[in-house]
């Protein structure tokens, strides 16, 4: 019986069936649920959240060299972090099958950029598979493992948001159980790319690519669907699904094992079709290659390369190609209020942003829930670049001589990911910035994964809790202080003092994410209408539980979890705990 599975569940299922015994990763939307699902099989698969993608990649790479099948999971930007091991593992090759599962985010639903992981396949000279639904996600994982072992190469399995987070029906199979000899072969010329051996490996990479071209040409993951010969469309990944609805009569070259390019198949297809159109999401990689083969085709002229594709966008492409004016289905316009994502009611980060709002400082931010602190009315984050940059960019603003005091903000998981090296730099190179670690004891934005600070592993075992304070001191930071962000007075006092310290300081704002704890912070609050002066200062906290609009703000009893920040900022004393005062 077929099962309804998300792409990520299906990737995990494929890895399980393929006999994977080591799986690592770092959480990142839209990739996170791969490892979360695979870890349900923890009696047969060792799974871990590593501190970052580079570490995760190296752990799984070593597992492969030791002979087991392994995977590593991450989002597209995570592969930038893991690019270093990827580029050279391509030289070393693998022993047990090794698949890097990378999920792209066209349209930037939950990411800071839009990048096309297919570029990495070509860059690192490794094969890539691109499923277009959950069934293929499961099937291609099994194929990718076979290819990886047969050709001793790391393989990339590239998903996208719409593949990872769409559900469709999947026929599953049994787990392959093969007896493997585990243990690293003693063979430095194979595994040590010092120049003399590395140059040999370099040539092997090119030889392997030629063999892999033959493999992609013969792969059942690549197929020609002949229908009308007047238009032939080359496509891959989720774009295939849209193509089938927008051009149901057209012939299609559907690529699933898309690099190395299956040139013979592309030529055969181009010969059989009168016109060739390439429909690919993000970069025009296939189009450029097909043109380089001397085949005339169109793509970017009609198909947008920015943002994700959709049936509606491709209907417009089709209209343009057919010389018609695109029939734009303009939805009726309503003057609707925007509803951007916001920090949850009772979020401890709110206290820090509220306190920082009193200072004219530069705030270098980072990736996590707290990125939402950039929105008005909190409006207290000036930059975001990448994981860990909240710390190192603070140091850069400081060294540039920015006249304002400099604050860097980073979350706990992000600090472990790549904030520590930045802090080391600040201490070593005598910076003066104030670094605040928003330690909510979890990796919140991606759905509450454990990390080195939570005391629990993905396998569900208790483990030592790392001390951020001790790391700070070990890096050479002399001023280290831990605060409770729900106590605004303490928070403001410590921030004000540390900004004037004249040397670097580390503030750890510690309070667990209430969404994870599923518990109240304190008593529910209410507004006493007769005392309220309608100054609206409480609304500057941007708490979803506080409804403005009317003269007297209202606190939603469904949303308020009693963090009490509104009570602390109210100058009129009109907000009180519901249980204590009045008739509430």
């Amino acid at each position: 019986m077929k099962q309804l599975m998300s792409g990520n569940e299906a990737i995990a299922r494929g890895a399980y069936e393929a006999g994977v015994t080591v799986a690592t990763g770092y959480p990142g939307t839209p990739s996170t649920e791969i490892l979360e699902n695979l870890s349900k099989e923890k009696s047969e698969v060792y799974c871990e959240w590593s501190p970052n993608e580079k570490v995760a990649f190296e752990v799984s790479a070593a597992a492969s060299l030791a002979g087991v099948r392994s995977i590593v999971t991450m989002k597209h930007v995570g592969l930038n972090v893991a690019a270093d091991p990827l580029m050279t593992l391509s030289y070393l090759g693998v022993v047990g099958g090794f698949v890097a599962c990378v999920a792209d985010d066209p349209g930037m639903h939950s990411s800071q950029n839009e990048q096309d992981t297919r570029q990495y396949a070509r860059f690192a000279k490794v094969p890539i598979f691109e499923p277009s639904d959950s069934q293929e996600a499961r099937d291609f994982m099994l194929m990718a493992m076979e290819v990886s072992e047969k050709y001793n190469t790391p393989v990339i399995l590239r998903s996208t948001t719409r593949v990872s987070h769409s559900r469709s029906l999947v026929e599953i199979g049994e787990r392959i159980s093969t007896r493997r000899e585990i243990g690293l072969e003693k063979n430095p010329p194979r595994f040590v790319p010092i120049p003399v051996w590395g140059r040999v490996m370099r040539n092997k990479v090119e030889d392997r690519l030629k063999l892999l071209t033959g493999a992609s040409e013969a792969s059942s993951a690549n197929r020609i669907e002949w229908r009308s010969r007047s238009l032939g469309i080359v496509t891959a990944s989720i774009a295939y699904q849209y193509v089938r609805e927008v051009w149901p009569e057209a012939s299609v070259l559907k690529l699933g094992f898309s690099y190395p390019f299956p040139d013979a198949l592309i030529r055969e297809f181009a010969l059989g079709a009168q016109h060739v159109l390439v429909v690919e999401e993000l970069d025009d990689i296939l189009e450029q290659h097909i043109k380089a083969l001397g085949i005339s085709c169109q793509g970017r002229d009609y198909v947008p390369g920015i943002g994700e594709l959709s049936i509606d966008r491709l209907l417009a492409s089709r209209a343009m190609m057919d010389g018609r004016v695109p029939k734009v289905q303009k939805p009726a316009e309503f003057a609707l209020p925007d509803r951007p994502p916001v920090l949850c009611p009772g979020c401890p980060h709110r206290g820090i942003f509220s306190a920082l709002g009193r200072h004219d400082v530069v705030v270098a931010g980072d990736i996590g829930c707290y990125s939402l602190g950039a929105f008005k009315p909190l409006d207290r984050m000036d930059t975001v670049l990448c994981m860990g940059a909240g710390v190192s960019m603070a140091h850069g603003f400081d060294k540039a001589g920015d006249p304002k005091k400099i604050v860097g903000i980073v979350g706990d998981s992000t600090f472990f990911h790549s904030g520590i090296t930045g802090l080391l730099d600040i201490a070593y190179n005598k910076g003066r910035s104030t670094i605040i670690v928003l330690d909510n004891r979890t990796t919140a934005m991606t759905g509450h994964q454990d990390n080195p600070g939570t005391g629990r592993t993905l396998m569900g075992d208790a483990t030592p809790v790392v001390s951020i304070e001790a790391i700070g001191r070990a890096c050479g930071i002399r001023r280290v202080e831990t605060i409770n962000p729900y106590d605004l007075e303490e928070t403001q006092r410590v921030i004000s003092r540390e900004l004037e310290a004249g040397e670097p300081s580390l503030i750890i704002s510690r309070a667990p994410c209430p969404l994870r704890e599923r518990s109240r912070v304190g008593e529910m609050r209410k507004v006493e209408a007769e005392k309220c002066k309608s100054c609206k200062i409480c609304l500057k906290l941007a708490c979803p539980a506080l409804e403005g609009g009317a003269e007297v703000p209202k606190i939603s009893e469904y949303l308020c979890i009693g963090c009490g920040l509104c009570q602390q900022v109210c100058p009129a004393g009109a907000i009180t705990a519901k249980g204590r005062a009045g008739n509430g």
């Binding site: 469709s168 009726a332 509803r339 994502p341």
Partner: protein, 195 residues
């Protein structure tokens, strides 16, 4: 487009935390029970933090895209009033809108940067010639569990789709914990029998 005639689309909209994902899973299971090919899509991550959330379900003999083309959904179910209007473009001209008469004030309104439409019911009635407008949240509170509002909505929405009631009931039973099963089935009945 042949496929277009066969594939049925459903769009569910609301605010992060209202139970859109559970509801979309139930629609998908009901369609599966009825023997259809099914695809769904939902939003995770950043978009869930109290923001506007949309889930899409498509079923038919063979479904390609998990995403619903504009103007084609048979049913649009919204757990919040402005969200119904925000995603109204998905609904086919003769499609059914099912709207929960609930207002969740966005932070943009609270801080005075935007206004919540005052004449929301009139806007909805104008936008959706076929609409079931119900206070699913109050019905759910009457049942004793505000969190079943999504299932009340689903009950009303089920009237716009040609799936057997038994398929819905099985889908609900297999999607919620056993101790909440009867409660959710009651919530479904309230929506399905809403006049």
């Amino acid at each position: 487009m042949d496929n277009e005639a066969e594939t049925k689309s459903v769009v569910l909209a609301g605010v992060g935390g209202q139970g859109i994902l559970l509801a979309s899973g139930i629609v998908a299971r009901a369609a599966m029970q009825a023997g259809y090919d099914v695809k769904t899509n939902e939003v995770h991550g950043m978009a869930q933090r109290g923001g506007s959330v949309v889930a899409q379900i498509r079923f038919g003999t063979k479904v390609y895209s998990p995403l619903v083309p504009m103007g084609t959904a048979r049913v649009l179910g919204a757990l919040e009033q402005t969200e119904a209007l925000r995603y109204s473009g998905y609904l086919a001209k003769d499609g059914l809108a099912v709207v929960n008469a609930q207002t969740i004030v966005p932070v943009t309104v609270s801080m005075g940067a935007a206004r919540y439409p005052e004449n929301i019911e009139a806007l909805l009635r104008n936008a959706f010639p076929r609409m079931i407008y119900l206070d699913a949240a109050s019905k759910a509170v009457e049942l004793g569990e505000i969190r079943t509002a999504n299932i009340v909505l689903l009950g009303a929405l089920s009237r716009g789709l040609d799936l057997q009631e038994a398929a819905w009931r099985e889908a609900i039973a297999s999607s919620v914990k056993e101790k909440f099963r009867d409660l959710n089935l009651k919530a479904f009945d309230i929506g399905r029998n809403f006049k």
